[in-house]
């Protein structure tokens, strides 16, 4: 059964379709959430919320706007960023902005050895084929949840430069990933 059929059945209330959808995607979605929130208990919480919302809003999925896989990854990324922001807002003693986590990871100063090794492996993947300046802005936006203005402030670069780097980086990613599906 195709992914689109699975989501359509979920929209009709088919619980088995939901279980299959979860089994098909959870082990790819979980590491993405983990990469963003960096805490196993929080990541498990977010994972549950993402799939629960997918079940509830399966009827609003529009195949014309992307594959079910992109749909669930997009939801997972958004909820994970929401979680990081909520944690930041709730703990008022934590004064560093959300991006410190990403900066720490990028500088290899944070995370355990396994996480650092994993980040290195990734750089060898599609992201690794991007010029450093483009990789940086995409990581800050996609994994760090920073907006274009926040990235520009953080890197002390003009807003226009940041936007252009994001566009060029994504164009390159599309080329790299579409060439080797």
């Amino acid at each position: 059964m195709t992914g689109i059929d699975l989501v359509r059945r979920m929209a009709e209330g088919d619980r088995d379709a939901f279980a299959r959808f979860y089994d098909r995607h959870a082990r790819q979605v979980y590491p993405l959430i983990l990469r963003i929130v960096r805490d196993h208990a929080d990541a498990a919480d977010v994972l549950q919320e993402v799939f629960w919302e997918a079940w509830q809003s399966a009827a609003s999925y529009d195949p014309g706007r992307g594959t079910p896989e992109a749909w669930i990854f997009m939801r997972a990324r958004t909820r994970a960023i929401d979680r990081v922001r909520a944690i930041r807002r709730r703990s008022e003693t934590f004064v560093a902005p959300v991006d410190e986590r990403v900066a720490a990871a990028a500088a290899d100063a944070g995370g355990d050895a396994a996480e650092r090794a994993e980040d290195r492996d990734l750089v060898l993947g599609a992201l690794g084929q991007l010029p450093e300046a483009q990789r940086e802005v995409i990581e800050l936006a996609y994994y760090g949840g920073l907006t274009q203005t926040e990235i520009a402030e953080r890197l002390t670069q003009p807003l226009g430069t940041v936007k252009t780097r994001i566009r060029l980086g994504l164009e390159r990613l599309r080329e790299v990933l579409n060439r080797s599906p």
């Binding site: 279980a19 959870a26 208990a41 919480d45 896989e69 003693t93 926040e150 599309r174």
Partner: protein, 259 residues
């Protein structure tokens, strides 16, 4: 006007980084049905999904699947309408602003500046609402998780008492041996600079780290707790540790459950 600026906005939108007036402008453009932008957004989202797919798979904890199946079984069919009104209201308000901008542009260009201001204000209000909505969603999810937990017969409440290092502190853990639970703390002083609180579960020989947390200005904190993989928990304890947490306790114990 050339389409080129929108190529860039579409890419920034796809990676979730568009904000301010750019966001309002691009969403209005999308609503006019620009197929070029739809394609860029769609292809960029697929590329980002491809990026996520490159990560080595990690099997999530089994309790997540179990909890989801329970929730899905308990809900007879998907219900979406009740939670939809906020995005709907936002969409309608933004659509009204966009439609107004279009008409005004035709009639009198002097209104454009005012409408630009209005669009920016709308974008700011939307962003604010989006953040508040995200926070509320978090809180609802946490409350719902605890309600689910309390429904399970084997769930119990474990009391944590403040020790000499934090005599005013107290805590409760809503706990289920298989499903895990949630920690609530009161009266704990904020951790000093460079430090954080860390929760431990003691089931086997050595304490297992169960996550770090910081308290708010009123000394309160709450966080989810996962069941450890070394058997039923006998004791919960909280220590003060270097920021970021440590794999084994090193600092003073501030809270502990009775044996």
């Amino acid at each position: 006007m050339s389409h080129e600026p929108f190529d860039t906005l579409a890419a920034v939108y796809a990676v979730g980084a568009l904000d301010g007036g750019d966001l309002a402008r691009f969403e209005a453009h999308l609503r006019e049905g620009c197929s070029t932008c739809e394609t860029i957004v769609r292809e960029s989202s697929e590329a980002l999904a491809g990026l996520a797919r490159e990560r080595p798979p990690v099997i999530p904890p089994a309790h997540v699947r179990e909890a989801l199946i329970r929730r899905v079984d308990a809900s007879s069919r998907p219900r979406t309408s009740r939670r939809r009104w906020i995005p709907w209201a936002l969409g309608t308000a933004a659509a009204a602003v966009a439609a107004a901008a279009f008409t005004a542009g035709m009639v009198a260009s002097r209104y454009e500046a005012r409408l630009g201001v209005l669009a920016r204000e709308t974008a700011q209000v939307r962003e604010q609402l989006r953040r508040e909505q995200a926070l509320l969603r978090e809180e609802v999810a946490a409350a719902r998780a605890v309600a689910d937990l309390l429904r399970m017969p084997a769930t119990r409440v474990v009391a944590l008492n403040g020790l000499a290092a934090a005599p005013t502190a107290s805590g409760r853990i809503i706990w289920h041996d298989q499903a895990g639970g949630r920690l609530y703390v009161n009266g704990l002083p904020p951790a000093p600079e460079g430090k954080t609180y860390e929760l431990w579960t003691i089931a086997g020989a050595a304490p297992r780290p169960a996550g770090t947390f910081d308290v708010d200005t009123a000394g309160r904190a709450s966080r989810p707790v996962m069941p450890p993989d070394d058997g039923p928990v006998k004791v919960f304890a909280v220590t003060l540790e270097p920021a970021g947490g440590v794999p084994a306790p090193t600092g003073p114990m501030v809270l502990a459950s009775a044996k």
